[in-house]
Amino acid sequence: MGKTYWETFKEAGISRREFLKFATYITGLMGLAPSMVPKVVHALETKERIPVIWLHGLECTGCTESFIRSNAPYASDLLLNLITLEYDETLTAASGILYEESGKMVRAGLVGHLDKVVEEYKDRYILIYEGGVPLGNDGKYCIVAGRSYKEDVIELAHHAMALIAMGTCSSWGGIQAAKPNPTESVDVTKLVKKPVIRVPGCPPIPEVITGTILHIALFGIPPVDDQGRPKQFFGNRIHDTCYRRPFFNAGQFVEKPDDEAAKKGWCLYKIGCRGPTTYASCGNLRWFGGISYPIQSGAPCIGCADKNFWDKDPFFERLKGVVTSKSWCGRRRNHRCPCRPRYCGRH
């Protein structure tokens, strides 16, 4: 049995007061009611720090980039105090040959670092997947330290206590699974028999990543919807919490990305905003400590947390291939639309 969170905190010289403040903070972050604070404190006092294995497949590593920018809790806090990150190709201090050599030793029948971790924390570790899994060419499109990612995905899932698909690539396949999908990439749920928690987003909001990991560390699997997405972060459409919603309801829309209406901050629905169909927390949590989110910065949401969103282009039109009044206007140049002469997007 490893050390509990509280023990770790004490060792680090963190006062009880600071500790309670922290507990209150993360309670809010996980979307729990204030009445849950005592339970969070209790969990922090009794649960041991949870071991995490974090794998990277076909991806841009943007999810990790997002993760390390988490503000509440700081990613460093999470990494150093709240979980023990046992294996991660990009974040661990050990790197290069020394770190990956162990992987090759596994092939040679020797016990490598990863095997040691799995042995030691059997059925207790969280396995986080980042990136899609290429199945084409027997998985040769993604090989890390001599092992194909495809094998790792299946093997390591066996003894995991919880599986998290981090980001759109591991949740839905992501950009490499977009048409024509040359590497035949799929999301990890296609390969793993156990239930996988999906945290989609390209990338997911930093606090959503840390919040989900924390929830599992303290209380186990969070409540999820039918597609395995934690309800506290993916229960609402962006549209439902968007601050531009009054303009939508009033029927005041931006027609072109730089028109008068755009300067007034009207709703981006007509220039293809995917807010009405995308489930994510951008509208309420926003990004990077609540600074902004794409819609606030004037760009329509492209639905990055949505299944197969790459194939739903063009991003600046509402529904692909569906006839709208705009499609008539755009047909002929210099043609003036009789019904709305001023508002034809492409004039």
Binding site: D226, R237, Q252, Y269, T277, G303, F309, R318, L319, C339
Partner: protein, 253 residues
Amino acid sequence: MVANVVKKAFYRFYLFQPGLRIWHWIQFLAILVLFITGLYIGDPFFIGSIGWEANDAYAHVLSMDLIRLIHFAAGYILLFAFLYRIFLMFTKKSHFSLLIPKFWKPWFWKGIIEVLLFYAFIKKSHLPLIRNPLARIAYVFVLLLIFFEIWTGFAMYGLSDPSGFWAKFVSNWTLAFFGSEYELHFWHHVVAWVIAIFVIVHVYMVFFNDFIAKEGELSSMTAGVKYFPEGHLPEDCDDVASQKECKKLREQS
């Protein structure tokens, strides 16, 4: 000289009780409203609120909010109309059996060909049928499409209240089934157009039959009855009357 009055005997078939006729016209109105408001939701092509503050526009003009409200209200009407139609199936024989494409009957296949030739102005008449096979297929098809619109519509509608009734029982698995809500919107929109095309063809066919076949097609959905001249007993007589009655009539002629 053309006679002003002709004495002729008819078979008079009572097809639809008032309930069904009222259902048909309520459904028609609901779909009309749904289609128009739906198209506006899909592409808000007029903006009635220039120069208003969002708050005032909200309350005073034909805003998106109001149009969506009308769409959802008509959606509820359509839902209950649909459920009522299912209930009606148990109230009268013809309410049910006229909807069945009876592909195991010989007249069904013969009817398809004859009706097609009739519609193409190649044949002057087709074998007498209360409801022809093409219409049977079309009605089942359109009822399924309407069901699809109700299903996808309420799935989208439900998710604005994630712990409500629709979200619990409809939305979540529907979303998982379609992959994402974008697809839901897409198919809801496409099927809306398919229904619109059905209505155009349907109305054309109704008037065509009323004017050319002269069997009281239109009156069937207003007065509930259809007429067939003596000697032209419809093949699907037993969808409305009992087998015994039909047999008797057939022997008489």
